[in-house]
Amino acid sequence: MVYSYFPGCTLKSKATELDRKARLCAAALGFELEEIENWQCCGGVYPMAKDEIATKLSSVRALADAKAHDRPLLTLCSACHNVIKQVNNDMLKDADIRTRANNYLQLDEPYGGETKVVHYLEVLRDEVGFDALKKAVKNPLKGRKVAAYYGCLLLRPGAVMAMDDPENPSIMEDLIKAMGADPVVYPQRNECCGGYLSLDDKEAVAKRRNKIVKSAADFGCDCIITACPLCMYNLAKNDCDVPVLYFTELLAQALGVE
């Protein structure tokens, strides 16, 4: 299976490990990531504004490109995934946004939300399958206690993202089990890390970080995994000295593709 891959800006700068390991693992697990040509920044969270159309255009371009290749669009970064999937939903369901975006872009063929947007984790679960993944694991992470951190963007709004139960998810825990480690379930795993507040209210972010990491540490984890570069940025340096990794880093270890 070939996916149109939208890495997003952060994966080309701060989060290169998320990107590089994801490509290695994909190759090992037998699916292809073909980077969309000339993709542009998804716009961070700005496209969530309901009254602004320009911010949604880069997502629509990427989605239309995937459609032209008749492929699902795959993302890794939680924020990119959230933005592109929500814009896609708008293009499918909101006639006003659809008309305005198409009028602006003048694509060869109008885009109406046809592309399927999938997250890398969903491919692991639904295409590869955790049972098959378990068989592909070369170095089972025996004895490791891994806490999955979902954050807020990956699963919400639940009806649009439709990846997992936003209040009691299991996709990453199932991945952790498939890699041979023990998942640590802790209540703060789907709470917000503070997001962009790190730009102007470091105190607020520190509070969120400590709450999340302490909660995971209290339940006995030895590391935290995430899919989001911003979550990684906010959680990485914590008082509890719990290492935070991208899920692809752990996956690469388990698959032995480093």
Binding site: G158, A159, D165, E167, N168, P187, E191, S215, D218, F219
Partner: protein, 672 residues
């Protein structure tokens, strides 16, 4: 020669404000066959009816058209009036110029034009009306009550009191319903069992009442006064007649690890069980899913110890058939499943419970013998951590929800504000060292002595009521619960470390209500509550004749309201059963056998099973005799819905009072 009279009603300003009623009367006077037309302020009033009657006599009318409200409202009124003046009731037609005209239009000109057209259509129809005479059907003087909770119990007792036989069908092994699980009742705080169990015993002892426990209604056929129900008596593997309820079998049963549904899974029961001490009937039931004898044929202990010889492992489900004149739906409710509300961590911590679970924890006959303990400490109640010192109640879990989350309800479940106040008060009364918080959206306590009750919780018992919702309950590694909520009045985030969180979960109709509604052809709303025949004026009857509604199956209610409705429902049932015969509806279908080709299309669409086929001899044009299969309608069963007349490809099926030619005449008049 037709002599039609047209009567146009003002309905005060309801019609006259949007329809020029005088112009309507004027316009229809010119119609063929019309010999009289008039308008009047309130045609349904005594004076209006007298006008209709006098005109029938003076003008020797052969047909009447009343231009007024919906026929659902006053068709019967005018039919009765016409009959008194000597005109066949079915020679009266209503032109609905209120609900379908004046109420939905604003413009007088177009409103008047439409009213004239509707009147013309009714005139065209009445010209083709034929006098009809309704038949009579006898009434079976026995009622069926589906559901044996407090609603069903009260309805059955009242029907029996009036002298009629009544059967209660209850799917659980005992009657009593949800009220048996409740500890105390608001606003008087009297013990639920103490007021319920005597009524259960009354049911058992009443000669007029027959209880089918552990039974379900399989199918219902027939119509008002003449229903036939098939009731499945599920095998309980214990002979009800022999079992004395001594409990010896329960004592000896080695299978101890069966989740006890009566205590909502907070403790375990045996594979053979009596749900609780006051069960009616007090008869043991074997749970075949867990019974070792049923599963692998090894055990048989209960059979050995039963002195009455009541155990019968080979018992089979039994279907019995019974006839009824009236059927009462009293199917009750259940708390919703809250697995999709996991921000409250219900599935993650044993110390997050529902309000009904709290009832069991506070009940002297419950898993903790009435001592309030954290469920995580149920097996170590002496531990000093067992008693919850801080308790958070969360209101409206799943109720009043506008989100599309699966299982959430748009409606207010109505009972939660009061029972939460009750819980909070009882806890503060018994354990004054406990801190109690209640997070709410609104506190809704209308009802006799209800608001006073809630205020007592706040003012006298010092319960902390906080306006705002809980966003997250986080179970900590040490077992405590971090509750994060918003206080909308002081506009701040609140963090409470709690030992116990109690969720006031929304209630929904029992899962069986939908299938029972289909069986009874009783209509339901989108939430699966039964709809009433009229939301204000006929609140305990279903639109389906002979079907009545009792309790929460019609909408959320507390106990006093449920009992009120149950008794009202019984009064309506008695009003039906007391009649020896019912006047039928003559507007039923009939088949023209010469045109019928026996295709079965009508039989397939008939929801009442009123159509049967038989082979009949017909003389052919060439004078030979041919045998053909033709449809015939049982007029006693037919409800006159007209589905068959539409389905019939050859036009053989027709409906009295709504014949194909009458409808075409109406259409022609509208299109003229």
């Amino acid at each position: 020669m037709h002599r039609i009279g047209v009567f146009v009603c003002h309905c005060g300003t309801n019609i006259a404000a949007t329809v020029d009623v005088k112009a309507v009367a004027e316009a229809v006077r010119e119609e063929t066959g019309v010999v009289f037309s008039a308008d009047y302020q309130y045609m349904c009033s005594e004076a209006g009816q007298t006008l209709v009657q006098d005109t029938i006599r003076e003008q020797r009318l052969t047909g009447v058209v009343v231009c007024s409200c919906s026929p659902r409202m006053h068709e019967a009124t005018f039919r009765k009036a016409a009959a008194k003046a000597g005109l066949n009731s079915y020679m009266v037609e209503i032109a609905n110029i209120r609900e379908q005209c004046s109420w939905i239009h604003k413009d007088m000109v177009s409103g008047t034009e439409k009213a004239i057209i509707l009147a013309r259509a009714a005139i065209a129809k009445v010209m083709l009306n034929t006098p009809l005479t309704p038949g009579k059907t006898p009434v079976t003087k026995r009622a069926l009550v589906i559901g044996g909770g407090i609603a069903g119990i009260q309805t059955a007792l009242d029907i029996a009191e009036a002298g009629f036989d009544v059967d209660i069908v209850e799917k659980q092994p005992t009657i009593g319903g949800k009220m048996t699980q409740i500890d105390k009742t608001f606003p008087t705080l009297d013990c639920a069992s103490c007021i319920l169990t005597p009524k259960m015993v009354d049911c058992a002892q009443n000669e007029k009442i027959h209880i089918y426990s552990y039974s379900e209604v399989e199918s219902v056929t027939g119509f008002v006064g003449n229903f036939t129900a098939k009731i499945k008596r599920k095998a309980r593997f214990v002979d009800e007649k022999k079992c004395t309820g001594c409990g010896e079998c329960v004592e000896k049963c080695p299978m101890k690890k069966v989740p006890n549904e009566f205590n909502l899974g907070l403790d375990n029961r045996k594979a053979i069980y009596i749900p609780f001490a006051q069960a009616v009937p007090k008869v043991a039931t074997i749970d075949a899913n867990y019974c070792l004898m049923k599963k692998n044929g090894k055990c048989g202990l209960c059979s050995k110890v039963c002195g009455a010889g009541a155990i019968n492992y080979d018992q089979q489900d039994e279907i019995i058939e019974e006839k009824y004149g009236a059927i009462v739906a009293a199917t009750g409710y259940n708390p919703i499943k809250i697995d999709k509300f996991d921000e409250f961590a219900y599935s993650q911590s044993p110390d997050v419970i529902t309000s009904l679970e709290l009832e069991r924890l506070m009940n002297a006959a419950g898993p903790s013998n009435g001592t309030l303990v954290r469920p995580s400490y149920l097996s170590k109640q002496d531990d000093h951590e067992a008693h919850p010192k801080t308790i958070v109640f969360v209101q409206c879990v799943g109720s009043r929800s506008t989100e599309c989350r699966k299982g959430s309800k748009e409606y207010c479940s109505k009972i939660c504000c009061m029972y939460t106040a009750k819980h909070a008060m009882l806890i503060r009364e018994k354990y004054p060292d406990t801190d109690v918080y209640v997070f709410y959206i609104d506190v809704r306590t209308p009802g006799k002595l209800f608001d006073e009750f809630y205020r007592r919780a706040v003012e006298q018992y010092g319960v902390h009521y906080i306006k705002g919702m809980v966003g997250k309950v986080s179970p900590r590694a040490d077992g405590k619960l971090d509750v994060q909520g918003s206080d909308l009045i002081s506009n701040e985030q609140l963090h409470v470390t709690a030992d116990l969180v109690v969720l006031a979960t929304a209630i929904e109709p029992d899962k069986t209500a939908r299938s029972i509604g289909t069986m009874l052809t009783a209509s339901m709303d989108t939430n699966d509550f039964f709809t009433e025949a009229h939301p204000k004026l006929r609140p305990v009857e279903s639109p389906t004749a002979g079907v009545f509604l009792s309790g929460v199956c019609q909408g959320p209610k507390d106990i006093p309201e449920t009992v009120t409705q149950a008794s009202a429902c019984a009064a309506k049932v008695v009003g039906l059963l007391v009649k020896d015969e019912l006047t039928g509806n003559p507007c039923v279908a009939h088949s023209d056998e010469l045109m019928c080709n026996g295709c079965s299309a009508c039989e397939k669409v008939c929801p009442y099973g009123a159509i049967t086929y038989s082979d009949k001899e017909f003389r052919q044009p060439d004078r030979t005799v041919a045998i053909r299969r033709v449809a015939s309608v049982n007029p006693a069963v037919c409800q006159g819905c007209g589905a068959c007349t539409v389905a019939c490809p050859s036009g053989a099926m027709d409906l009295n009072g709504f014949s194909n030619s009458q409808i075409m005449a109406e259409v022609d008049a509208v299109c003229r």
